[in-house]
Amino acid sequence: MSKSSKLPNEKRESSRIKDADGRRVLDDSSRRRRLSRYLEYLEKDNHNDDPQANLNIPSKRYLPFHDLEATSVSSKKKKKAKGHDNVQKRLRKNFAALLEENIQQNGDSDEPNYVTATAPPPKYPTRKFCHVCGFPSNYICVTCGAKYCSIKCLRIHQDTRCLKWTV
């Protein structure tokens, strides 16, 4: 086989390399990806889909704050409408974009900010817990790197989340 034909193959295999016994194993970078997927999951506001995603539904009626204005001076209304536009234009940014912008602005400045306030990593190596039952664990699944504590939990892990886990 020529080198050029081998490359695409390697690429496809790259996330699941085989160990000495021929078992499939996740490499480091996909283990890290998996971990960050879990962190993304922990940040989510909802896990379900919006039950009204495709419908434009009015909210329940209430007497809004703005209606309390006794007079409806038209110039005031116009001004308000303009305010809406400005705010909308300025803030079409998500958290990641705002943080990126904030980091750029701070540049080399020595002012404390969101990033400098982040709690540092722990000094000591972390304890390990079985992800099946939650009790302290001494073993690591050779395939995916998940922690388990006993043969019983390893079996459950292999039947369920090992390599299938897609939160």
């Binding site: 308000k80 300025r90 803030l91 912008e101 009790f135």
Partner: protein, 394 residues
């Protein structure tokens, strides 16, 4: 008089400064599976009988106000006549609104715009919730140094104060809050027992009703192995028909459930305390590479001038929703006591209601005129624009 709005990621605490307690309003627009034709703004959700599978739209992301389309609707509702008994035009009022530490300039700028240009308040002041807590705490006791722990929905902050200034270089943020704890619990129950991935509301209630902070993590682990009742329990989930609210099952009255056709019980073995443990060891279970609350307190105070450290250790204030977890205060005390210098006198103040404490402090500050010089008036804003806010709010 002013309106105080502690604009939290999960709940808004809102009310007038002459009141003693705020109203708690959800800071979200909510859609329910059971009522497909309407969405609920904030506490309108109380009209909804079936809270299974509800969907939250939150204007704040990681504690920062990002979505003004949502927040405007929510504020419209919470400032509406049915909530705040406004007998004076709102243009007559000043407003204090909380913001996150190290708020981003565009977020703060649009806050000022909305407050002055749309809602047309008379004056505006913004600062972090923990700053309101520290100001009132110190002024009431005539002290000068304290450290506020604010553990909320999105994150946990450790913030040392000297007089009314925060020691910004010593502030520490842990990316663990109530949302992460609830999501982690959801994942564990769904994987180990019953699929509750869509049931944020239900699991949040379970967390508030059944979780606790362990005083001795590994001893409790041993107890949990044998399903010892001191740490393990069965929790009955609500079905919103017969059972409106979940609760810990008392073995003696188990039979009362048999009259229902179906009901769901989850067995909580170690989850009751391993899940909140993520606040103290984010790397254990949450897999976040950061130190926990207790170590962060010591780490933050290490970054303050040596001579004020003993005074800071004597004035540790616990606020935010997670401070309501049973055992939270004892655990922090034991941890800090054991990590830090034995000469320091560690004293912890835990307010009666850690959720509303910042609001109550804000109201007191306004009543006593302590914020009078800090408000930016609409006139000033119209004349000088955002610059005046930048100079006055710190």
């Amino acid at each position: 008089m002013a309106i105080i709005l502690d604009n939290g990621c999960y709940t808004c605490k809102v009310g007038f400064s002459n009141e003693t307690r705020p109203r708690l309003m959800l800071n979200s627009i909510i859609k329910a599976k059971s009522e497909r034709r309407t969405s609920f703004i904030s506490n309108q959700i109380n009209d909804c009988k079936d809270l299974s599978g509800i969907f939250y739209l939150l204007p704040l992301q990681k504690g920062f106000l990002i979505d003004w389309d949502l927040e405007r609707q929510i504020w419209d509702y919470i400032f509406s006549k049915e909530n705040l008994n406004l007998n004076v035009e709102f243009q007559e009022h000043n407003i204090v609104i909380t913001e996150p530490h190290f708020n981003f300039t565009p977020v703060r700028k649009s806050m000022a715009e909305v407050v002055f240009e749309e809602f047309q308040f008379k004056g505006f002041y913004t600062t972090a919730a923990s700053t309101l807590s520290s100001r009132s705490y110190l002024r009431e006791r005539n002290r000068h140094y304290c450290v506020v722990i604010d553990s909320g929905f999105s994150f946990t902050h450790v913030v040392p104060y000297c007089h009314d200034r925060k020691l910004a270089r010593a502030v520490r943020r842990i990316d663990v809050g109530g949302k992460l704890i609830t999501n982690h619990m959801k994942d564990l129950i769904s994987y180990r027992q019953l699929n509750v991935m869509d049931e944020t509301y239900v699991v949040n209630q379970l967390k508030e009703g059944a979780c606790f902070v362990s005083k001795d993590f590994f001893a409790d682990m041993e107890l949990a192995k044998n399903s010892d009742r001191k740490v393990s329990c069965k929790y009955v989930l609500p079905d919103f028909q017969n059972i409106k609210q979940g609760y810990i099952q008392d073995d003696k009255v188990e039979s009362s459930l048999f009259s229902f056709d179906t009901y769901y019980i989850v067995k909580l073995k170690n989850e009751r305390f391993t899940v909140p443990e993520v606040l103290f060891n984010p790397s254990y279970i949450g897999r976040i590479n950061q130190i926990g609350i207790s170590e962060a307190i010591v780490n933050a105070l290490d970054a303050t001038p040596r001579e004020i450290q003993p005074l800071l250790y004597k004035n540790i204030i616990l606020t935010g929703g997670n401070a309501k977890l049973p055992g939270f205060k004892e655990r922090i005390f034991n941890d800090v006591r054991s990590i830090t210098n034995a000469d320091f006198d560690v004293q912890i103040f835990s307010p009666e209601d850690p959720v509303t404490y910042a609001w109550e402090c804000g109201a007191k500050e306004v009543r006593d005129g302590a914020l009078d010089n800090l408000f930016v008036s609409r006139k000033e804003y119209e004349e000088f624009g955002y610059n005046i806010c930048r100079n006055r709010f710190f």
